[in-house]
Structure formats: C-alpha cells, structure tokens
C-alpha cells in the first residue's frame, strides 16, 4: 500500500468506481483505435494512449489531445475484447488533467466543460451548444460570424432562445450542489 504509486494505478484510481475492467488488462489489440470515429484527430490513438499510461509516460499523456478529441460515442467500450470501458477512461483522463490544470494549450474542451457546468449550477438549465462560443469567448473567435448567421436563421424559425431559463427552486437546487461540492455556506 505504501510504495510509490505508478501512473497506471493513478489513472486506475481516478476511474476506480467504474464497472469495466482495469486498463492493465488491455491486450493492445487495437480494436478501439480501429473503431474510433475521431481517431484521425487524435495525437495518439486510444490503444497507444493506454500503452503510454501503462508504461508510465505521464507527461506525454497529459500533453496529448486524445482524450479531449474523444466524442464519447462508446463504440470502443462495447467492442473491447478485454471489457475495458475506454470512453470512461477518456473522461477520467479529462478529469485528471482538469484537476491538475495541466492540458495541451489552446484546447476548447476544458473551457467549455467549465462554462457549461457553471451555467447549469447558476440556472439549473443549460444554454444551447450553438451559442456556447459567444458565452465562452467574449471577443468572438473566428467562425463566430458563421455561427451568428446560423443563429439568425434559427432565430427566424423560432428555434433560438436568447437566454436559458432558470428553474424555480434554484436556491434549494444550489444547496444540493453545495452538499456535493463543499464550497460556500453549508446547509
């Protein structure tokens, strides 16, 4: 119990509650990489990421965009012959890198997750993903013009709200959140 913890075990601990098998059972068969619809956009394939974790390459893994490019489609998870929930591992890696504040620069994923969760905690409801860039980047990234054109089209069709609704029992809702995340006045 007392010996230095390997990177593999560290990641296993982040996902220890999952019901899949531990990543050390990986056969390196490549089924996950062959299945993955987002693999072209990843620095390392899912199979390689698992290989790197097992070999203890912490810095390489943290610097990779792989888990932030995962679309959470669970195709790999249902196909893996070793019964590993790879999609869940990708979430665990996101969590690990967010908590450490260590991830590849310029990624939108971490900022987006933050804003999305914040929005829900503040209102009980979420904004439209379409409008997300407007909320996230105050000064508008490239592509926002396109986004705005699409948004105008949707607005005309009566499909775009300006602001998200709020739930009625917001105060009690937030007290509930504070019992899970111990920040702010306890109830």
């Amino acid at each position: 119990m007392d010996t230095e913890l390997s990177f593999n075990d560290e990641i296993a601990n982040v996902m220890y509650a999952t019901h899949g098998n531990p990543i050390k059972d990986c056969l390196q068969c490549g089924t996950c990489s062959g299945t993955c619809p987002a693999v072209e956009f990843m620095d390392h394939t899912p199979r390689v990421i698992i290989g790197l974790i097992r070999a203890g390459y912490k810095d390489e893994v943290l610097a990779s965009n792989t888990f932030w490019s995962c679309a959470s489609c669970y195709h790999c998870s249902v196909r893996c012959p070793a019964g590993i929930d790879i999609a869940d591992m990708m979430y665990a890696l996101k969590r690990y890198s967010m908590w450490k504040g260590q991830h590849q620069e310029g990624l939108i994923g971490p900022v987006f997750s933050e804003s999305f969760v914040k929005m829900i905690v503040n209102s009980g409801r979420s904004f439209e993903p379409l409008l997300a860039p407007t909320y996230i980047f105050k000064n508008g990234p490239q592509g926002l013009v396109q986004e705005a054109q699409t948004a105008t089209g949707l607005m005309l069709k009566g499909r775009m709200p300006l602001l998200p609704k709020k739930i009625k029992g917001l105060k009690k809702f937030q007290n509930m959140v504070r019992r899970i995340i111990p920040i702010g006045e306890p109830s």
Binding site: E10, N13, A17, W99, V117, R178, I180, P182, I183, G184
Partner: protein, 139 residues
C-alpha cells in the same frame, strides 16, 4: 508509543512530500491512494489522525468518505485534517467563496500547498484536542 497517522490522497507527489515531513517529526504514516482502500485500512487498524483529500476518483469523494466516517461508531471520534486543492480544482463553480469543512466531529481544513511548519502545528493541535476529549470522557 508512536502516533499513527493515516493519509488518503490520490496525488503521489503530494503524498511523498507530506509523508516525509511527518516521518521526520516521528509520526508513523500509512497511505492509501483512493477512498476505498483508505476506508478499509481505517477499519483494519486504529489510527490517531486522518489526513484526507477531497477531490479523488469520480469527484469530491473525500466528502462522502468523511460522512461515512462520522457515521461509523468506531471511527467517528478520530480527528480529521482535510487537506485540499479543491479551490484550484473546481472552485470556478463558486468563485470567491470559502471551502466549508465540518464533515466530522473534529475536523479542520487547510488548503494546498501546505507549509511544513503549519502542517505540524495543525496535526499536533488536533491530536491534543482528541486527547483532551478522551480524558474528559473517562473522568
């Protein structure tokens, strides 16, 4: 007799640092890197103090564990020092607000990073408090 401290924290680098500080001060330290193993260790053996992290595994599991300890008749008197980096990790949810402790009977909360001197003071203060409480009960 040596004072026995249990530490439950998922960050191996942080654990190594704290452990060496405490061991230099003659405490005996045992470590678990996830709440599940940690709870098992606490049930298997008596510890005088628990150092507990908050963000582990799926999320703020430290809170769940502290609540479990409080409900356990054998463990509920054990003082708990919560050492957390939660502010860095997810405080963006409630900016500017304090982390609240009081999950167990006797607890105290400090935020990472921790100064060695400060840590040792907190540890001995909590141990002393627990001692006093115990002798009061015996009187």
């Amino acid at each position: 007799m040596n004072t026995k401290i249990m530490m439950i924290d998922d960050d191996p680098d942080f654990v190594a640092g704290i452990k060496s500080i405490l061991e230099k001060a003659d405490y005996s330290v045992n470590v678990a890197y996830n709440p599940k193993d940690g709870f098992q260790a606490l049930q298997a053996e008596h510890y005088d103090l628990l150092l507990l992290d908050i963000m582990m595994g799926r999320g703020a599991e430290g809170v769940a564990l502290a609540r479990k300890i409080r409900k356990d008749p054998k463990l509920k008197e054990m003082p708990v020092l919560i050492i957390t980096g939660i502010r860095e990790q997810i405080a963006f949810l409630f900016p500017g607000q304090a982390v609240h402790p009081h999950f167990v009977e006797t607890d105290e909360l400090v935020e990472k990073p921790v100064e060695p001197k400060f840590l040792l003071e907190k540890v001995s203060a909590l141990l002393r408090l627990a001692e006093e409480k115990k002798s009061k009960v015996q009187e």
